[in-house]
C-alpha cells in the first residue's frame, strides 16, 4: 500500500473516522498515480477535447468519433511498461487485453491494434532482445487469438530504456452510433461481473505501475488468457445488441476498487457489492485481495434485475462466460463493500463504506517543476561536417547503408509478419506504410499512425512532443486522410523530480498548443510516470496516435460494404512507384540535427538544435499533399520524411519496391534560420535559401518536420508542380526513380558529384533481415 500520510489524513477527514483496513487498500489502489492521474490531471486539462465529430458520454473509457453514415469510431491508448519490463510476454499481452476492453466498454467492436515498442540499445543492453522478442510474441499471441488485426505501430531502441520495456498499445473500435452504450443506472439495477475468475494475480498492479521498478514483483503482473477475452468480447457485444447493458466498465488498473468507485461516481449513484459473490480462481481470498486483484478479462456490467439480467445469463451461458451478480445500485452515492452473509445464519460484514466521490477523486497534486540542468546548452551541440573520403569529397554510401540497416530504421516486417494484420478484412493499407488504412462500412477509410521520438523530446521536450504529433499527422496525410482526432500517451520518469516533471509539463503544453492550432481534438490518452531504469529516468516519451478519415468517391459515400467500386481513394492507395517517376521533396530542410539518428547513431553526439514545427508551414504542406493525394493518378506515392532525414526517406521508397533512383540534393529547399522558420517567418515560397551554405550531411540527414517525398509520374508532373506552386509550399524536383540511374543503384549527388551509391538489392536484403537477424542471432 502506498498512501502518503497527507492522503491518509485527507481520507480520514473526509470520512470523519479512522478508515477500515479494506478501505485503505481500496483507496490506495484508486489513488495510485496510475488510476488517479493525481500528478498529471491539473496539466491535462489544457488539452482540447471538443470537436465537431467528438461524441462525449460520461464514463467512457475510450474516445468516440462520429465518422458518418450512422457509424462511430472509438479509440484508446494504454501502456503496460512496468509489467512488460518484468515479464514481457504476459505484460505485453495483457496490455493488448486491457485496451481492447476499453474499446468494448463503449459498446463498439475492436477492429484494430497498434503497438509502440521501445527497448534498450541491443548493442549494450543484454535484456533488450529478450524483452523485444517476448513482447512481440505476447502481442501476437493475444491479438491473433482474438482475431483483431495488429495493423501498425513503431519500434525503437535507445540507451535510456536499458533493462526496461515500453509497451504502448492503441486500439480502434467501430460500431453503429445508435448502439453505443449510454451509461446510466437506476437504483435497484444489479451489478454483474463478467469474465475470468478473480485470482491473486496482478494484486497491487496499479501501485506497482506507480512506483519505480525496484523489485521485480511478478505477482503484480497479470496473466493473459485471450480465449476468455474473445468470449467476453462476443458475449458483451451480443448483450449490447440485446439492449441488456445499462452501463459498463472494464476492470483494469485498480481492479474492482477502481471500476466500482469510478462507475458509481460517474453515474452519480451508490453501489453495494459483496465480495463473497465474486467468482474467484481460488478459495480464501481476502476482501482486500478481491478488491485490488487485477486479474484480466473481466467487465463490470450494470443491468436491470429482471429482463436485462435474464438476457445476460443466457448470453453468458451460450458463450461459456462465467459471471456473478455481485451487487446492486443504490440511491445514496456510497461505495459499500460487504462480505459474508451467504452462509446460513451468518451476517454481512461491512468491509468498506465510503462516498464513491471520495474514492474516485484523489486529491490532486501540484508538483513543482523546474527546467532540468541537462538542457543548458544542449541545443548548441554540433559536430563538424563529415569529411570521410579525403580531398573534401565526402562519401555517404557507408553512412546511409548503416542507417538503413540500423535497428531503428530497418524494415519492421519481422515484427508485423508475426501479427495477423489482415483478419477482419478491413486492412487496405498494411503495416510498413506511413499509416495503416482500414475500410469502414460507410464507404470511408480510416488511417491511423502512432509516433514517438524520445531523442528529439530529450533535446527539447516541447518541440519534440509537437514533432511526434506532427509526424503522426504527416503519416496519416500521406495516405490522403485528413486528421480527425488524436490520442496522447505521456510517458516520463519520476514526477516528484522537478526536472522530470518540467519535461512532462512542457510536452503537454506543446501538444495542447498544436492540437488547438490544427483543430485536432484529443479524444483519449494515458499518462505513465515513474518509468525509471537503474541509470535514471527514461527520456521523455510522449507517443501520439492520429486518426484520419478518407472519403471514397463522393458517389460512393454511405454505400454498403460489399461491392464498393474501384473508387479514387483505392486507386490511389494501390498505386506504386514506377520506373521514371519524378521525385519531389515538399517542405524545407533546416539545420536541425538535434536528436537525429545521424547525430546519435552515426556520430555519437547527443544534442544539437531540435527540429521545430511551424504550424503555418505544417498546414501549408499538408494541405498541398492532401490536394495531390485526393486526385487519382497525380502521385504514385507520398512518403513522410522523418527518422534518418531525406536520405532515409528516399531510400525507403526505393527499398520498399526494389527500384533505384538518382537524386541531386543541391536543389533541396532549405531554410537556414530554424528559429525563424518555426515562427512561420521563413520557408514560404518554393525557392528556399541558397544551397551551398548547408553541409551535405545536414541536407541528407536533418530531421526537419513538415516534409514529404512525392513520386510523380511524368504525365502529371506539370499539374503537381502547378498545384505546389499555388499552395506556397516549398518544394523541388530532386531526381527520378530508376531511370537514368545505373541499374539497381540508389544514387545521391550534390551538385552533380556523387556522394552516395548503394546497391538496391544488397541494401534491401540487409534492411529486411536486420531485426530477425538480431533476435535469432542473439
Amino acid at each position: 500500500m502506498n498512501l502518503e500520510q497527507s492522503e491518509l489524513d485527507y481520507l480520514t477527514s473526509r470520512l470523519g473516522r479512522i478508515p477500515r483496513p479494506a478501505e485503505l487498500h481500496i483507496v490506495a489502489a484508486e489513488w495510485s498515480e496510475h488510476c488517479s492521474y493525481k500528478s498529471s490531471k491539473k496539466h491535462l486539462r489544457i488539452l482540447p477535447t471538443d470537436g465537431p465529430l467528438v461524441i462525449s458520454e460520461k464514463g467512457y473509457d475510450s474516445g468516440v468519433l462520429d465518422v458518418g453514415g450512422g457509424y462511430v469510431v472509438t479509440a484508446h491508448i494504454e501502456s503496460h511498461n512496468h509489467p512488460s519490463a518484468v515479464e514481457p510476454y504476459g505484460g505485453a499481452a495483457t496490455g493488448v487485453g486491457g485496451v481492447i476492453r476499453d474499446i468494448l466498454s463503449a459498446g463498439t467492436r475492436p477492429i484494430a491494434i497498434l503497438d509502440g515498442l521501445r527497448f534498450g540499445n541491443p548493442r549494450t543492453d543484454p535484456r533488450a532482445l529478450w524483452l523485444f522478442k517476448n513482447a512481440v510474441s505476447g502481442i501476437a499471441d493475444y491479438g491473433n487469438c482474438l482475431g483483431i488485426p495488429t495493423v501498425g505501430g513503431e519500434l525503437e531502441f535507445d540507451d535510456s530504456y536499458a533493462g526496461y520495456a515500453m509497451v504502448d498499445v492503441a486500439a480502434i473500435g467501430f460500431g453503429k452510433r445508435d448502439r453505443l452504450v449510454r451509461n446510466h443506472a437506476e437504483p435497484g439495477d444489479v451489478v454483474v461481473l463478467l469474465g475470468g475468475p478473480t485470482g491473486r494475480d496482478g494484486i497491487g498492479g496499479s501501485q506497482f505501475a506507480s512506483d519505480s521498478l525496484e523489485t521485480e514483483d511478478r505477482s503484480a503482473v497479470q496473466i493473459p488468457d485471450p480465449f476468455i477475452e474473445k468470449l467476453l468480447v462476443e458475449a458483451v457485444l451480443e448483450a449490447r445488441s440485446a439492449g441488456a447493458i445499462h452501463a459498463m466498465k472494464d476492470l483494469g488498473g485498480g481492479g474492482l476498487s477502481c471500476a466500482v468507485s469510478e462507475t458509481a461516481d460517474a453515474l452519480g449513484v451508490g453501489i453495494t457489492i459483496n465480495t463473497d459473490a465474486v467468482h474467484a480462481r481460488e478459495d480464501g481470498m481476502s476482501v482486500e485481495e478481491i478488491m485490488t486483484s487485477e486479474s484480466q478479462e473481466r467487465m463490470l456490467v450494470i443491468t436491470d434485475s429482471v429482463r436485462g439480467l435474464q438476457a445476460i445469463r443466457e448470453i453468458c451461458s451460450k458463450f461459456g462466460v462465467s459471471h456473478s451478480v455481485i451487487g446492486a445500485v443504490k440511491r445514496d452515492g456510497m461505495m459499500r463493500v460487504t462480505s459474508g452473509g451467504r452462509r446460513a445464519g451468518g451476517g454481512e460484514d461491512i468491509a468498506a463504506e465510503m462516498p464513491a466521490e471520495v474514492v474516485a477523486n484523489a486529491r490532486l497534486l501540484d508538483l513543482p517543476h523546474q527546467r532540468p540542468a541537462y538542457l543548458d546548452g544542449i541545443e548548441d551541440a554540433s559536430c563538424a561536417p563529415h569529411a570521410q573520403g579525403g580531398g573534401g569529397a565526402a562519401d555517404y554510401t557507408d553512412i546511409i547503408h548503416r542507417l538503413m540497416t540500423s535497428p531503428n530504421i530497418a524494415s519492421r516486417s519481422w515484427v508485423y509478419s508475426q501479427y495477423d494484420h489482415e483478419v477482419g478484412i478491413r486492412t487496405v493499407v498494411r503495416p510498413g506504410a506511413d499509416a495503416s488504412v482500414l475500410r469502414l462500412d460507410n464507404g470511408r477509410y480510416l488511417a491511423i499512425s502512432m509516433d514517438g521520438n524520445p531523442k528529439h523530446c530529450y533535446v527539447n521536450p516541447r518541440q519534440g512532443a509537437i514533432g511526434c504529433f506532427e509526424e503522426a499527422c504527416r503519416n496519416v496525410v500521406c495516405t490522403g486522410a485528413a486528421p480527425i482526432g488524436m490520442l496522447d500517451h505521456l510517458q516520463f520518469g519520476d514526477p516528484t523530480d522537478p526536472g522530470v516533471f518540467w519535461t512532462f509539463v512542457e510536452s503537454v503544453r506543446g501538444i495542447a498548443d498544436f492540437a488547438r492550432e490544427m483543430g485536432i481534438p484529443c479524444v483519449g490518452g494515458k499518462v505513465s510516470l515513474y518509468n525509471e531504469t537503474p541509470s535514471g529516468p527514461i527520456k521523455p516519451t510522449p507517443v501520439i496516435a492520429v486518426l484520419g478519415l478518407i472519403s471514397g468517391d463522393d458517389s460512393d459515400g454511405g454505400g454498403s460494404g460489399g461491392k464498393r467500386a474501384d473508387n479514387s481513394a483505392m486507386q490511389r492507395m494501390r498505386a506504386k512507384p514506377a520506373d521514371g517517376d519524378h521525385i519531389i521533396v515538399v517542405g524545407s530542410t533546416k539545420d536541425e540535427m538535434g536528436g537525429s539518428e545521424y547525430y546519435e547513431y552515426i556520430r555519437g553526439v547527443v544534442g544539437g538544435r531540435c527540429p521545430a514545427v511551424s504550424a503555418a508551414e505544417s498546414r501549408r504542406n499538408s494541405g498541398a499533399i492532401l490536394d495531390i493525394t485526393r486526385r487519382a493518378g497525380l502521385s504514385h506515392m507520398v512518403h513522410d520524411c522523418s527518422k534518418g532525414g531525406l536520405a532515409a526517406a528516399v531510400s525507403e521508397v526505393c527499398l520498399g519496391v526494389g527500384l533505384g533512383c538518382d537524386v541531386d540534393i543541391a536543389g533541396v529547399p532549405r531554410a537556414h534560420d530554424a528559429g525563424a522558420a518555426a515562427s512561420g517567418a521563413a520557408a514560404s515560397g518554393a525557392a528556399g535559401a541558397p544551397a551551398r551554405t548547408m553541409p551535405d550531411d545536414v541536407t541528407l540527414f536533418s530531421e526537419s518536420h513538415s516534409r514529404y517525398v512525392v513520386l510523380v509520374p511524368d504525365g502529371s508532373l506539370r499539374e503537381v508542380e502547378d498545384l505546389l506552386a499555388r499552395s506556397g509550399a516549398a518544394h523541388a524536383r530532386i531526381g527520378r526513380a530508376a531511370r537514368g540511374a545505373p541499374r539497381g543503384r540508389i544514387i545521391f549527388r550534390s551538385g552533380g558529384r556523387t556522394v552516395a551509391d548503394l546497391s538496391v538489392d544488397k541494401t534491401r536484403r540487409e534492411w529486411s533481415g536486420v531485426l530477425g537477424g538480431m533476435v535469432h542471432g542473439a
Binding site: 501476437a140 487469438c145 482475431g147 480465449f227 474473445k230 508485423y416 509478419s417 489482415e422 475500410r439 494501390r574
Partner: protein, 247 residues
C-alpha cells in the same frame, strides 16, 4: 438465381466467421447463416464452411477441441452425403483433427505465426470450390497461421497426389514447411476441401487490388455448381485418375 444456402459453423473463439460471412453474403450473394457449434445444421443447407482464425483459443492443438463439438456430427454426415464443405485455415485443422480429411497441420517450420501473401497453384480444378479455375492457375492469397505445415505419412501423401486430391500447392516452395508444398486437399469424393490460405481475404478489390480474380473463383465455383444442382454423391474428381486412391 444463385441464392445458395451456406452455413458458417461458429465455434467458441472462432474469429474469421464474420469475414467469411461478409464475403459470402455481401460480395457473392449467398444466403448465409451462422451455425453455433451446439446447434444442428439447418435442413436445406447447400454448403458448409468451417472458417479460419482460432477455435477454443487453439488450446491443446489448433482444431483439436472443435473437432469434438456437437456440430461436427452434422458436418460429417453432410460431408459423406456429398454436400460441399470448405475448411479454411482453422477449419482445415478441424477437418484433419476430426479425421474427415487425412494428415495433420503442424507448427510452422519457422516456429512462429506467419502472416504474409503467397501464390497458390491449382492442382485439382474439379472440386465444388475450384471448378471455375484452371489446373495450373496461380492464386495470390494470404496465409495467417502458426500451425499451417501440412504433414502426412509418405503413403498418404502419395495417395493424395495420385488420387488428384491435392487441390492447392504453394507456387514458390513450401512457405511453412508443408510436405510437398501442399496447401489444400480434398476427400475421396472431392466435395470436402481444406485449405490453409484465406480466400475470403483475397476476394475483393479493396483487400487484394492487385489481382482478386482467381480467389473470387473459389466462391464463384461454389455458386456455379450449387445453382446448377450439381451437388450429388457423384463426386468432383475429374478424369480417370481417381480410382487408385479409393478403397
Amino acid at each position: 438465381m444463385r441464392l445458395v444456402k451456406v452455413g458458417i459453423v461458429v465455434f467458441p473463439g472462432s474469429n474469421c466467421d464474420r469475414d467469411m460471412h461478409h464475403v459470402l453474403r455481401d460480395v457473392f450473394g449467398f444466403d448465409v447463416q451462422y451455425v453455433w457449434h451446439t446447434k444442428p445444421i439447418p435442413a436445406g443447407t447447400d454448403a458448409v464452411v468451417l472458417p479460419g482464425g482460432f477455435s477454443y483459443g487453439d488450446r491443446l492443438r489448433a482444431g483439436a477441441i472443435a473437432a469434438h463439438s456437437p456440430v461436427m456430427s452434422d458436418v460429417r454426415r453432410l460431408a459423406s452425403k456429398g454436400t460441399p464443405v470448405l475448411g479454411v485455415c482453422n477449419g482445415f485443422q478441424v477437418l484433419t483433427e476430426s479425421g474427415i480429411l487425412p494428415g495433420a497441420l503442424l507448427v510452422n517450420e519457422s516456429l512462429g505465426f506467419m502472416c504474409q501473401w503467397t501464390d497458390l497453384v491449382v492442382e485439382n480444378a474439379s472440386t465444388p470450390f475450384t471448378s471455375m479455375l484452371r489446373a495450373g492457375q496461380r492464386i495470390p492469397i494470404p496465409i495467417a497461421n502458426g500451425e499451417g505445415r501440412y504433414y502426412a505419412d509418405e503413403d498418404t501423401v502419395r495417395d493424395l497426389w495420385r488420387g488428384g486430391r491435392v487441390v492447392f500447392r504453394y507456387a514458390d516452395g513450401p512457405v511453412n514447411g508443408s510436405v510437398g508444398g501442399i496447401a489444400g486437399i480434398c476427400n475421396d469424393d472431392g466435395n470436402v476441401v481444406g485449405m490453409m490460405p484465406h480466400p475470403e481475404r483475397a476476394a475483393e478489390y479493396e483487400t487484394n487490388p492487385a489481382d482478386c480474380g482467381p480467389a473470387r473463383m473459389i466462391f464463384e465455383s461454389l455458386a456455379g455448381c450449387a445453382s446448377a444442382q450439381q451437388i450429388s454423391h457423384a463426386g468432383y474428381i475429374g478424369g480417370g485418375e481417381r480410382g487408385e486412391a479409393r478403397s
